[in-house]
């Protein structure tokens, strides 16, 4: 630093573009003239996108059935009635039969849908212990307080998995039967129950506790199943890769839904003859009806859906794009009118000058 008080302009500020606020700048001026092409371009682009989305959404087929069992809606109402008031509800099964006149283009996914089920309820949503679910032995035996009142069983044993989410695990099960020819035998359609959860959930986030003597049951020794569960967690499936905390149904359930009406993937149909989709014919879904939803006005649905690049069927986005695109075009026209009139005025002004 060479400056001193006597140097010429010692206190003179730097004359740089930044300090003098003279940085080169783009100065858009919002007016009809500028907005006009913007609106038209955006409108056209949106309409194009909207059409694409609309058609691809339309290409997705969906087949859904409400099996809640409200009175007069098919045979599941029996089960619904039977389950009323009894805790644990007796095992009951019902069926949903439908016919496909033509091939249901695959890959076909089987979803169950619950509505009016507030998985996003705050006190429900926090009632879990991720550490426990990741197989941490210490957490297994000491679930976090958030799990209360499903933290410890009445006997004082830690509940595994703890918390309200796990406790309310959806426990209906489905099997799909296909009748190729009318009157023919029903063949069970293989449902791929694996790969329905996120890969990371299944492989990273959810882990079973380390096996004790090669046995998962022993690993869970000293814990109690959630009160609503008829079976302990290590008994969820016979497949050792699909039981315990890494049972995929469980993993899917534990990913709480965003909205009170939600779907969860139950199975994928992609094996054998059904890899291309569901061939035409009669089908029956055998439903083992366990899950009580009628008490709080909930609904249960079964959905067969094909899938495209944009996921499941959702016409909204396409329509929304079309609407917004049209709006853009419309406003563009308004702008055009404004612009032309404004331009005239300007010209007049200039003429006057």
């Amino acid at each position: 630093m060479t400056w001193s008080a006597t140097a010429r302009g010692a206190h003179q500020p730097d004359n740089t573009a930044f300090t003098q606020q003279r940085l080169p700048a783009w100065q858009p001026l919002l007016s009809a003239g500028i907005a006009l092409p913007l609106f038209f371009c955006a409108g056209l682009a949106f309409i194009g996108l909207g059409l694409g989305l609309y058609y691809s959404s339309n290409g997705i087929k969906e087949l859904e059935y409400d099996y809640t069992g409200n009175p007069g809606t098919g045979n599941c109402s029996v089960c619904a009635q039977a389950g009323q008031g009894r805790a644990p509800p007796p095992s009951c099964s019902c069926a949903w039969c439908f016919a496909l006149p033509e091939l249901f283009q695959g890959p076909v996914y089987l979803y169950y849908e619950l509505s009016n089920f507030y998985q996003n309820n705050r006190r429900y949503g926090v009632s879990r212990d991720d550490a426990q679910l990741s197989g941490l032995p210490s957490a297994l035996h000491h679930p976090v307080n958030e799990c209360a009142p499903y933290q410890l069983s009445a006997a004082g044993l830690p509940i595994a998995p703890c918390g309200a989410i796990a406790n309310s695990l959806f426990n209906d099960s489905f099997s799909l039967w296909h009748q190729r020819q009318p009157g023919g035998p029903y063949v069970e359609v293989p449902l791929d129950r694996t790969g329905i959860a996120w890969w990371t959930d299944y492989h990273v986030k959810f882990r079973n506790p380390p096996l004790v003597n090669g046995s998962l049951a022993l690993a869970f020794q000293g814990t109690a199943p959630p009160p609503n569960w008829p079976r302990p967690v290590y008994d969820l499936s016979s497949d050792p890769n699909n039981t315990g905390f890494i049972n995929q149904d469980f993993v899917v359930w534990m990913r709480t839904a965003a909205l009170p009406t939600f779907r969860k993937l139950y199975a994928r149909i992609r094996q054998g003859n059904y890899s291309a989709g569901l061939p035409r014919g009669a089908y029956c879904v055998n439903i083992i009806y366990n899950y009580p939803v009628r008490a709080f006005g909930g609904h249960k649905r079964l959905i067969f859906s094909s899938i495209s690049w944009m996921g499941g069927k959702n016409p909204f986005l396409g329509i929304a794009y079309l609407v917004v695109g049209s709006l853009c075009i419309l406003t563009g026209f308004v702008m055009l009118v404004v612009y032309i009139r404004y331009q005239d005025q300007n010209d007049e002004d200039e003429d006057e000058q």
Partner: protein
């Protein structure tokens, strides 16, 4: 975070804790100070070294006096955390945020991980703490620097003065200070190298006054001939306890023998002042450190809250209400929801931990509290921090603006208040001081009247005009040299003198431009008030001739009995006049680079005359007997009777001594026998003189260049320099004598008997001297004309002499009025010859008064009044206080910007009015209401009258009792001027006394109402208190934003009261600056500060605040809509981390960049279109309407941003946090796009910030989502973002949602931009249309120097502006081709001709220029359609000025002016409306035409009246 910088404080010297704040209030009302050198009883600490000895302070232990260590820091290492936190929690916002964070720790209601909510609060607190710490650290560093300044302290061990640090000085220490050293503590002056025991100090650091103050050694110590020895000092000093009164110090010193001597302010050297002109002084420290008066006066920075912030706080309250409403709504919803599902055994319902289900009411209460936590973002926690950051940046940019940098003083604008930058954009009223603010406070001698004859000093006027043209200095010499012969009377001396002038101008020419010369004079700090402009005065040839004649005559006649009698009365007056100019002051003569040393002989007695014996001794020739024998012995006892004996002249036998003196040899030997040189500067040997006039002149010249005058006020310096220009140079001033150098007479030394200093009540000062030529006792008095004129010797009209005298008086009075009209500061010079008896008689009472203890001041005052009577008028001077550069332009611009400018000045009415005209504050074609009332009733009546007048807006209807002819002159003019609604408002001039009445409770409303109607208000003769009262009144009653600008101590109160205080860091120095929020080097910088920076700051901050509210509301809206789908359970779909970090991290940077850098309108457009400033005044950017519109838009956007994803993901298997992340991303994009719509200028920084913001979000999200599979319960977002980003739906939804959300805003903005553009938008459009045209003037514009080319560009730009609604002002309907008709007599006689509105000044100029600049006149060819009002107004001004010019010539007008003042005496006052159109014609013609090559667009209109007046005269 807080710790780290705290460690930086470590370098604090050890022993800091040792000094641990000993701040006990001492008992008693007095402080006793003893020498530290006296051995403390019992404690003899011999082993201690010098340093330790210094610390062994006041070992007595009873007194804990502060040492001299300066400590302005607030914190220590230990106390920082608690103290800073304590201070921070004084902010309600912080308490609120902490409350929220604490709430989150309650398990039942917690919404997030408890620690997480603390994060933002801690962040905010940490940032603020860091800022505080940094400030404290820089304070500490400056303290440290000051504490380690060195000074000489007497050490007991070493028995000599040793160097010590300032901080080691203690009360009771002896300090030796040398010339130009800064005083380290409040020190009682005990010894000075000055033989008179004087010491000069400069108090600029304290009060900003650059003149030297005189301090005196304590009485009793000045007698010490040998050097003062601290070891012998055993007296005890008793004084008052430390207080902050700079002007007062009382105490006494008790000597060993029990004698007491009083101590006064004159004995105290205050900390912070600088020793000047004194070689060395010794004193004892009385107050040290924080007990010094300087530090007690230092009252830290102020905290002001800007208007915008207040409004913002109000809106924050709305947000709180909204928050409570939302939470309540949610709580009720949740209660109902719980109640609905209570008994349903719903699987998602979670019972209490004990298994019982929650009652709906409890659930609702919990939900309420949780909602408050969840929605806390609505209260923008980061807003406060962001605002602080933005303001700091704004301050940085203002500081850095090169166009606010003043090259002359090498200073830039300082922002002293950091938090009111945006107030600059909303100012409605400007209160300005006049002297030093509008004017330079550089007093330049302009004209004078001697003995009734006026000397107009035309050459001087020309010279001043030259200074106006800054840098064309090389040509300056030629006209100056040639201008003098025009007067025709060039004596030989004058030609020599001209030579000399040229030489002296060369000396400063060498330094280059005027700016540099100024800087050079600023840098040579030894001299106050002496820019070349003030120094070099071109004398009036006639007067110069007369002075030379006097000189010659006296030189010849000097040895005769009555040398002065040989002069004609007029010449005698001339001679006395210049002698008075030279010596009737307190100017100190110094040579540069040296302290004032007296090497010449001096009287053995202290002067002024102290005792009667003193008087006797001095006025009896007894002392002369030793030196000369020609005077017969006069009995000393007969002094009183033999007055005539005093008339005896001294013989010229002291030639030897005189020669000695002339040679300038140091004669220390003579000083020992004091009186040997008693006759020292008596007249020099005439023979030698006459033989070598050339040599003498050269010598004088040298001396002249060498000597510097240091005056207490710039006026004094101006007069002394003026006298010097007439070769009557002040050569030396000692305490008891003053020498004047004359070319022929040589050095005349006057014995200075008394100096009766200036005070504001007497408004005059006098010196009593003994004239060396006649040995008579003369009183020279200099003072305000109003006072002096009343004190003149009443002259009988019988004899011729008396009649002549009377005539002189009336003529002088006339000229005085003329001077006042010209805006000059007038002073009258008078003299009185005292007979010895009269003097002796007066002296008797004066000495009594001086020695009186009780009411000394009062008695001295009386005594002075007794002396200053029966004066003989010598003449009067007119001193110009020049306008600062660019003041009229600035005022015009500020006016256009809608600012009302009030000038509050202590000056008298005429001067103030004329300065106001000069700076275009008053217009020549507007009416002036003058309010001069002598009583409250009169004031009330006048106010009513004025109000009536203003309401009726017809000047004819107002009673004009005193001026029938005036009203005749005006009556045809009133109607048209009122028919135009744009600016018919008159201006108000009010004097101090009326102001005092008007400010009383019952009248203030009327006064304000009147003032509000007026275009400008001028308060004359107002006291500092009145100034602040006016500001306070306007501020509180009109609820207006006020700005006060001033430069002096008298403006401090006003500056403090106003919303924004601006200090001018000019001549008068620091006091106003210390009190101000902003300090500018010049008044003209106010224009850029307000119109550009003020506007920017306001618009930026307003937009940012609005954006903040929008952002938070919109974000909270998302969460709120979600409650409808989660049972109002206060659940969030957005991950809590995003929720917390979103405001702080992801979306904060772009808005900060925009808030700091965005320029809605470029600077040059703002400057050319000052009316754009009104948007800030009317709070257009941020007002309740915009706020609520903004909130509505936020609500809409949040609806879109929630429901589009809702519908898009309805019935899907998406999970809550994936969906939430999507919404977060959408919100981010929407925010950025919204900001994009709001951002007006996109620099690379904006792009970067936006890009960075997006990048940051995705990076952080990706890292966060990949970092830990099981952490962050309950959201547990593992791999969410990764999955989401692989989904095309994510992008499609983002695109659709953001665009849909912003569609309406974009639509309306675009539509509004086209259909109903605001002024600001139009301003921006001009930029677009003609960006290149602005480039050329851009550089030069704000410098105040408008080059010739500038003329065309703004005009062109204006012509564009008239196309839009912007041109409300109907400026400039100008065509160059219409000039001819306007000059024809029939056109000027016909008031309805539109062509009248031609700025003739430009015409005349362009007539010459048009051939050179054909291109420049092109744009003007377009004839614009003027407003109808315009076409009417201009003719009126024409006719008005013609009428006036035909009715009045100047002298009659000035008498009219006095009629108005006479009417004041009639205790009723009068309402006075007149136009000054013709008044200043002469002056303006001569003054403005030379500078006319820089016409300012905006001035055209203001000039019309004047110009038309001139033209019509020319044409007729």
């Amino acid at each position: 975070m807080e710790r780290e910088p705290a460690a930086a404080e470590e370098p604090a010297p050890p022993g800091r804790r040792w000094r641990w704040r000993r701040r006990r209030r001492r008992e008693g009302r007095k402080r006793t100070v003893r020498s530290n050198l006296m051995p403390p009883p019992g404690a003899e600490d011999t082993a201690a070294g010098a340093a330790k000895g210094a610390r062994r302070r006041q070992c007595g232990g009873a007194q804990h006096l502060a040492d001299n260590r300066l400590k302005t820091t607030k914190y220590t290492l230990l106390s920082f955390l608690p103290k800073n936190l304590f201070e921070q929690f004084h902010r309600v916002a912080n308490v609120y945020f902490v409350f929220i964070a604490m709430l989150n720790f309650v398990p039942a209601v917690n919404a997030f991980q408890p620690g997480l909510t603390l994060a933002p609060v801690l962040f905010i607190l940490a940032v603020t703490a860091f800022k505080d710490l940094w400030e404290d650290y820089s304070r500490h560093r400056s303290d440290h620097e000051i504490n380690h300044l060195g000074c000489l302290v007497f050490s007991r061990e070493k028995k000599q003065y040793v160097n010590r640090f300032w901080k080691e000085i203690h009360v009771g220490d002896f300090v030796r200070l040398r010339c130009n050293e800064i005083i380290p503590a409040d020190i009682l002056l005990l010894s000075s190298s000055d033989p008179d025991g004087l010491c000069h100090i400069e108090t600029a650091n304290l009060d900003g006054e650059t003149n030297l103050k005189r301090r005196q050694v304590v009485r009793g110590f000045s007698e010490h001939v040998s050097e003062f020895n601290p070891l012998t000092f055993t007296s005890v000093i008793e004084c008052e306890k430390p207080n902050n009164d700079l002007t007062r110090f009382r105490g006494c010193i008790i000597h060993d023998n029990g004698k007491k001597a009083g101590l006064y302010k004159e004995n105290l050297l205050l900390r912070g002042c600088t020793i000047r002109n004194t070689e060395a002084v010794v004193g004892i420290v009385i107050y040290a450190g924080h007990e010094t008066k300087a530090l007690l006066n230092n009252s830290g920075p102020r905290y002001k809250r800007s208007q915008l912030e207040r409004q913002m706080n109000c809106d924050v309250l709305w947000c709180v209400l909204l928050l409570v409403f939302m939470s309540l709504f949610s709580a009720i919803g949740h209660g109902l929801w719980v109640w609905r599902y209570k008994e349903k055994k719903s699987l998602f319902d979670v019972p209490e931990s004990d298994g019982s289900s929650l009652s709906p009411v409890t659930a609702a209460v919990y939900s309420f509290l949780t909602m408050i936590i969840v929605l806390q973002v609505l209260i923008p926690i980061s807003l406060y921090v962001s605002i602080e950051i933005v303001k700091v940046c704004q301050v940085y940019f203002i500081n850095q603006d090169v166009e606010l940098y003043d090259e002359e003083t090498d200073s830039q604008l300082q922002c002293r208040a950091l938090n009111i930058t945006e107030d600059l954009g909303q100012i409605q009223y400007i209160f300005s001081d006049k002297t030093g603010t509008l004017t330079e406070n550089k007093m330049v001698f302009r004209r004078c009247t001697v003995s009734g004859i006026e000397y107009s000093h035309d050459a001087n006027a020309r010279r001043l005009a030259k200074y106006q043209e800054a840098d064309s200095e090389e040509e300056e010499m030629v006209p100056r040299g040639s201008s003098l012969p025009q007067r025709g009377s060039i004596g030989s001396h004058q030609s020599v003198h001209i030579m000399h002038r040229i030489q002296s101008t060369k000396t400063h020419r060498r330094t280059g431009s005027r700016a540099e010369a100024k800087r050079a004079s600023m840098l040579s700090k030894h001299t106050a008030f002496s820019s070349p402009m003030e120094k070099d005065i071109a004398p009036d040839p006639k007067l110069f001739e007369k002075v030379s004649e006097c000189d010659r005559c006296l030189a010849v006649a000097r040895h005769q009995e009555h040398p002065l009698a040989h002069l004609s009365p007029e010449l005698s007056d001339v001679f006395d006049f210049f002698i008075a100019l030279t010596i009737c002051n307190t100017v100190v003569v110094t040579s540069p680079d040296q302290p004032r040393q007296k090497v010449r002989g001096r009287f053995e007695l202290k002067s002024p005359v102290k005792t009667i014996e003193d008087f006797l001794r001095r006025f009896t020739p007894s002392r002369l007997t030793s030196g000369s024998s020609s005077i017969g012995s006069l009995a000393t006892k007969s002094t009183h009777k033999s007055g005539s004996s005093f008339l005896s002249t001294l013989s010229n036998n002291s030639t030897l001594l005189r020669l000695e003196e002339r040679l300038g040899q140091p004669t220390p030997a003579i000083t020992s026998n004091g009186y040997s040189s008693g006759a020292e500067g008596w007249s020099p040997e005439p023979a030698a003189r006459e033989q070598e006039p050339e040599r003498e002149l050269e010598q004088a010249q040298e001396q002249e260049q060498e000597l510097r005058y240091e005056a207490e006020s710039p006026d004094e310096a101006a007069l002394v320099y003026a006298a010097r220009a007439y070769n009557c140079a002040l050569a030396d001033r000692l305490h008891d004598q003053v020498s004047v150098e004359l070319p022929h007479l040589g050095r005349l030394t006057f014995e200075l008997l008394h100096t009766l200093g200036f005070d504001s009540i007497r408004k005059r000062m006098s010196v009593v001297i003994r004239h060396p030529l006649t040995d008579e006792i003369y009183v020279y008095t200099k003072g305000a004309d109003s006072v002096i004129m009343d004190l003149l010797l009443p002259c009988s009209s019988d004899d011729a002499r008396g009649r002549h005298q009377k005539k002189i008086q009336s003529m002088t009075q006339n000229y005085l009025n003329l001077y006042a009209v010209e805006g000059l500061r007038t002073l009258c010079i008078a003299k009185r010859v005292l007979s010895k008896e009269e003097y002796a008689c007066w002296l008797q009472s004066h000495l009594e008064a001086e020695s009186s203890l009780d009411n000394r001041e009062e008695l001295l005052f009386q005594s002075a009044i007794r002396l200053e009577t029966n004066l003989h008028l010598l003449g009067a001077t007119g001193i110009e206080d020049r306008l600062q550069d660019g003041v009229p332009e600035t005022i015009t611009k500020l006016r256009q910007a809608g600012l009302q400018i009030w000038v509050l000045t202590g000056d008298k009415q005429e001067t103030a009015i004329n300065i106001a005209y000069a700076c275009k504050l008053l217009d020549h074609d507007e009416d002036i209401i003058t309010l001069n009332a002598e009583s409250r009733e009169a004031c009330a009546a006048l106010l009513d009258q004025c109000l009536h007048y203003v309401r009726s807006t017809s000047p004819c209807s107002t009673p004009e009792k005193t001026m029938d002819n005036m009203s005749v002159g005006f009556s045809p003019l009133g109607a048209p001027s009122t028919s135009t609604t744009s600016d018919p408002s008159p201006s108000l001039v009010i004097d101090g006394r009326s102001l005092a009445y008007a400010l009383e409770k019952n009248l203030e409303d009327k006064f304000l109402f009147l003032a509000k109607q007026c275009r400008s208000v001028l308060c004359c003769r107002s006291t500092p208190l009145q100034k602040s009262m006016v500001v306070k009144l306007v501020r509180s009653k009109l609820k207006a934003m006020t700005l006060a600008i001033g430069d002096g101590a008298n403006d401090v109160s006003m500056i403090q009261v106003a919303d924004v205080g601006v200090g001018i860091s000019g001549q008068e120095g620091m006091q106003a600056v210390m009190a101000s929020d902003f300090a500018v080097p010049r008044f003209r910088y106010l224009q850029r500060l307000l119109i550009v920076h003020g506007h920017w700051c306001y618009s930026r901050l307003a937009n940012m605040v609005l954006y903040f509210f929008y952002k938070n509301t919109m974000f909270v809206g998302l969460l709120f809509w979600f409650q409808f789908y989660c049972g109002f359970s206060a659940s969030t779909m957005i991950d809590q981390w995003y929720l917390i970090l979103f405001n702080l991290l992801f979306s904060s940077l772009p808005q900060l960049v925009t808030g700091v850098l965005d320029k809605d309108v470029p600077a040059y457009v703002l400057l050319t279109e000052p009316q754009l400033y009104r948007s800030g005044q009317h709070m257009e950017e941020y007002r309740p309407r915009t706020f609520w519109l903004n909130m509505a838009d936020a609500a809409f956007q949040s609806l879109v941003c929630f429901f589009v994803p809702y519908l898009a993901y309805y019935d899907s298997d998406t999970d809550v946090f994936t969906w939430g992340t999507l919404i977060t991303a959408i919100a981010l994009f929407t925010f950025l796009l919204h900001l994009g719509i709001e951002t007006k200028t996109w620099t690379w920084l904006n792009w970067t910030a936006c890009g960075l913001s997006i990048l940051l979000f995705f990076t952080v999200a990706l890292i966060y989502n990949a970092s830990c599979a099981t952490c962050y319960p309950p959201s547990n977002p593992y791999w969410t973002m990764q999955i989401l980003m692989g989904d095309p739906m994510f992008y499609l939804t983002c695109l659709l949602t953001s665009v849909t959300a912003l569609l309406p805003r974009l639509f309306f903005k675009a539509l509004q931009g086209s259909l109903f553009p605001t002024q600001l938008q139009l301003g921006r459009q001009f930029t677009k249309k003609s960006p290149k045209k602005f480039n050329a003037p851009k550089e030069t514009f704000a410098q105040g120097h408008l080059p010739g080319e500038m003329r065309t560009e703004p005009a062109e730009q204006k012509s564009v502006s008239t196309s839009g609604p912007l041109s409300q002002d109907c400026t400039l309907p100008v065509s160059w081709h219409t000039q001819q008709p306007s000059c024809s007599p029939e056109a000027s006689g016909e008031p309805s001709t539109v062509d009248m509105g031609v700025p003739l000044r430009e015409d005349t100029l362009l007539a010459g220029l048009s051939s050179q600049t054909p291109g420049s006149s092109m744009p003007e060819e377009a004839v614009l359609e003027g407003c109808p009002g315009d076409s009417k107004r201009k003719p009126t001004s024409t006719s008005r000025t013609t009428l006036l010019s035909s009715i009045f010539n100047l002298p009659t007008f000035s008498s009219l002016n006095w009629i108005s003042s006479l009417s004041l005496v009639s205790r009723l006052g009068s309402v006075l409306q007149f136009s000054r159109g013709s008044l200043q014609m002469d002056k303006q013609d001569s003054e403005f035409l030379p500078s006319a090559p820089q016409p300012e667009q905006d001035l055209k209109r203001a000039d019309h009246g004047l110009l038309l007046g001139a033209s019509s005269r020319d044409c007729s």
